[in-house]
Symmetry: C2
Subunit: 657 residues, 2 copies
Amino acid sequence: MRAAAIRTLTLDAVAAANSGHSGMPMGMADVATVLFERHLKFDPKAPRWADRDRFILSAGHGSMLIYSLLYLTGYADVTIEQIKNFRQWGAITAGHPEYGHVSGVETTTGPLGQGIANSVGFAIAEENLRARWGSKVQDHYTYVIAGDGCLMEGVSQEAIALAGKQQLSRLIVMWDNNGITIDGKVSMSDVTDQRARFAASGWNVLHCDGHDPVDIDRALTAAKKSDKPTLIDCKTHIALGHAAQDTSKGHGALTDPAQMKAVKELYGWTSEPFVIPAAIKAQWEAFGVRGGEARAAWEARMAALSPAKQAEFARIFAGDVPAKLPAIIRGVKKAATEAGAKLATRSASEKVLQAVNPVLPETIGGSADLTGSNNTKTADLGVFGVEDRKGRYVYYGIREHGMASAMNGMALHGGVRPYSGTFMCFTDYARPAMRLSALMGVPVVYVMTHDSIGLGEDGPTHQPVEHLAISRATPNTYVFRPADLVETAEAWEIAFTSKKTPSVLALSRQNLPTVRKTHTNTNMTAKGAYVLEEAVGKRQVILMATGSEVEIALKARDLLQAEGIGTRVVSMPSMELFAAQDEAYRRKVLPPGPVRVAIEAGVRQGWDRWLLGERGRDGKADFVGMSSFGASAPMERLYKEFGITAENAVAKVKAML
Amino acid sequence: MRAAAIRTLTLDAVAAANSGHSGMPMGMADVATVLFERHLKFDPKAPRWADRDRFILSAGHGSMLIYSLLYLTGYADVTIEQIKNFRQWGAITAGHPEYGHVSGVETTTGPLGQGIANSVGFAIAEENLRARWGSKVQDHYTYVIAGDGCLMEGVSQEAIALAGKQQLSRLIVMWDNNGITIDGKVSMSDVTDQRARFAASGWNVLHCDGHDPVDIDRALTAAKKSDKPTLIDCKTHIALGHAAQDTSKGHGALTDPAQMKAVKELYGWTSEPFVIPAAIKAQWEAFGVRGGEARAAWEARMAALSPAKQAEFARIFAGDVPAKLPAIIRGVKKAATEAGAKLATRSASEKVLQAVNPVLPETIGGSADLTGSNNTKTADLGVFGVEDRKGRYVYYGIREHGMASAMNGMALHGGVRPYSGTFMCFTDYARPAMRLSALMGVPVVYVMTHDSIGLGEDGPTHQPVEHLAISRATPNTYVFRPADLVETAEAWEIAFTSKKTPSVLALSRQNLPTVRKTHTNTNMTAKGAYVLEEAVGKRQVILMATGSEVEIALKARDLLQAEGIGTRVVSMPSMELFAAQDEAYRRKVLPPGPVRVAIEAGVRQGWDRWLLGERGRDGKADFVGMSSFGASAPMERLYKEFGITAENAVAKVKAML
């Protein structure tokens, strides 16, 4: 009857919403019941307890499974009213489980494959923290329920292979093997032997009857003893007991009243809709007692740590940076301005990490097989692996999507602060996970090097053109394109202190001059845009640029000033942060009147707001950038051929004056 | 010495460019030599011959392998001058192989995993055309060289599983198993048993010594006899013979003169750089003779077909539509205007396909497991599968990326015209392949339904917000957001007649009214934007909208006109096509003066150009749309809460008047 409580709550909520997915919670109710009853370490009274087991519903459309579990076990925010308001405006019980809305939801799922890929990050974070803090402080499992859809998505392979290589034995995936997708039987589009597939990547593979509590318990018990990650193939029936059982119709909203009545009778369920008999509710709530006891023991152990250690643990789980970070950033900036060196911003980023990583022990760096190009590895990190669980650098392999999704998982786990690199163009591969970083508000950092045609010979397949626009179009995302080491250090400072917003650092392959000539303690990048060079004489022109094109803007200014045309140069490392300034500041940086030209080796989309004025009346404007894909050639030639030059900027200015 | 010719050309070209990837062509030269010598059906004199075998270099960074092969076998466009200009401006020998630049390059590769995923589409096209036209007309193989990077990318799993399910026995993948990636040994990030992995998805798995011609030939011969797709595990040494052999250094540009000298000596190669001894060149050129004879035989068989069949075959490979298509589209439009029904544009799309598919036998539809939601399947198509190779609908499974990449492969193969659907939000999953559609200029059609918060309860994980901007930011991409069945038919007409540009159709889940009240034969969508309703009285306001928000714009116009405020409504189904009109037309549709409000349930980015005027002086403007992610609730509530209403548009207009 405990599992029936999940099934009937699901039916009732979906019927009330007249939308949703009934079949999956009905199919996996038995597995979930055994997990929560006998294995999962959780305490509804402390949903954010740092040493809880993590439970991830990768098949997020089955959201009523997790909402039912949270309501039944007594999470305070998941009331029966919330269940009744499933999928309604203002309810925390969204159509798919959303991190930050519901206390017991560890990650936002729904886009298939993301949960299982997040889980690898959860498990890496746990291994790493356990190694660094000891098993008295961190010692838990990550459990995942994944469906056929999760396993068909390519990102699952990246996750599986990474977990297998890393022997993440605390990761247990329960596969809801019901043989059904939306279009029909799984066999219509897949013949993969999933057990063999997981085994091929180094997993422990078990199976069970997903409706036999004893068999489920046996499999979970065995899984926890493995020295590898475990897949449990749970043979289940979607929409168990319902007229739509074992059909694709069973995947969706089962709202027919007569069929609902029949299946409730089959379950022996006699309560009114949304009513759980007190005895059954009490059984469910008792499951949390085990976790509560474990939490009390954990808190006693934590109290025995030194005050400094307790404070440090609290700090890393709160996502606070050490107090000395700003001074370190200021030091890097000051040295950079004084040295005035020519440096690629990817190398500038490495210099910042070299300074910061030693004082931020929570960072975990990585790269999708471009370590030497992304400059993400600093000497002190060590390499995370079976041989060194304390290592703080992950060789993710050629798996941008899995990497991004694992970073989300790490950040959601807490206690670590992940950053990782690939080429900017391969933002495309990581997009689904990057969007979820923004939607969930997790402050991961994407180190995207080779950020324009400036990468040269590798050609248009590797040259981002639309990718700045793509990231800028995404809500709650900081896109930084720093011009030199000073701005790079400022961007990293914002990225590391962000608590709710992911950052994309667009960094050059090619060397760039130091454009910030005067040191200031103020983080100018935090203003989004600022006056880098003021006009001499009457201000007739404003040139705006980011990153590698700031150098070009400065050259264009020299040419214009030589002709007596007063020209201001604005560096705009972050449009989002500039848009977040008050209007007075924005008008100060971009006053109406002067003609404006923006220079960026990407598409114009996104620039019009700053070129044309937010009200569209600021003056004449033009753009120097890309309107097509790039080409394969040395970078100097490409900039010339695509007209991204100081001379072209000057010509565009003069045509408007 | 034939393989040495590849190796030395590679070394010479990379040294001349001082960039590139030497190790892969050096490692796979023996495999490629055996393939071209004994198996590949190709004719350098007719690179586009429809029944040639397709050769795909999925590991595109090894581009000098394919350029060497094409030069050596005598493709006219690949001259030694082109080899000498490897990676230079204007050369066809780009850093990564680019479709359309070089006659023998079947697909653009470089972003890893794309080639192997394309190849599934090539093989599907071949199976389908062979079934429909007979093996006298279509009867060839698709050969792929893939590296470890291709196999680590998640999209490879989607491709492998789809090929296994479909038993694409004409697909043969040669895995360059050299154990090395950029970061070091493959084992640093992967322990996957690739042979077991492919076998788990229904592949025939073979292996060979990648440097033993006899063993390579044995494996290829066996592969061709299989009734399944075949993986050949080719054990190779990256940068064979070079000081950097078997190291990650060997992956990159090997330009050290002394080491080059040493390895050439090891090969027994005494020619000057870029010089191939005549005898060796002659051996290579002789390999094409086999293909030339096969082509002559094929041409004789084709000549025996009826003239109508010959013309039809030429038509589908030219990508021309039947002459009657325009009349069919006009018929759909006329009926739609007359009926004036309320209809979701995804259903409108289905109606168009129902009319068009019977007269376009080259279409191949599909969906990533959302057939009933994307409305992509029409009754006449049949289902492509082992049981019915003539079927024209593919159940791709939950594999948006693999689907998109397979569509690219089909379109590149020729003779078929693929379209497929998923939810608009999952553009994210398909992005890497969608970008390549645009870069290569292949006219595939992405049917992206559920195109806004209008999908309602599924919530923000499924609600596109930034995705119109993403596709619009991508060069050479048509983004259509039709408002009703009339515009949907017009958009499909453009998509089906496009030869060089992919199309994204953004379609609503929710019902929409017919907004085109008067029938016209002219394809108004082809103009990108047009006046849907003219102002009555003095034109004070222009409202612009797309798709589902055109209805809202019309309601806002009614409210404004009721107050005597003359208001024009512009429907803008395609920004790209509007931008492509001459300035006179654009000014006619959007004259300066009236205040402008654009209404679209997406982010503002991309709209400023039309709101603010291309010169930024057109007048006051505002935007009604999204500036955050969506939420889970019924759609009517969402539109109200996010302020995408006629009332809000009116308020914004009045604030500016």
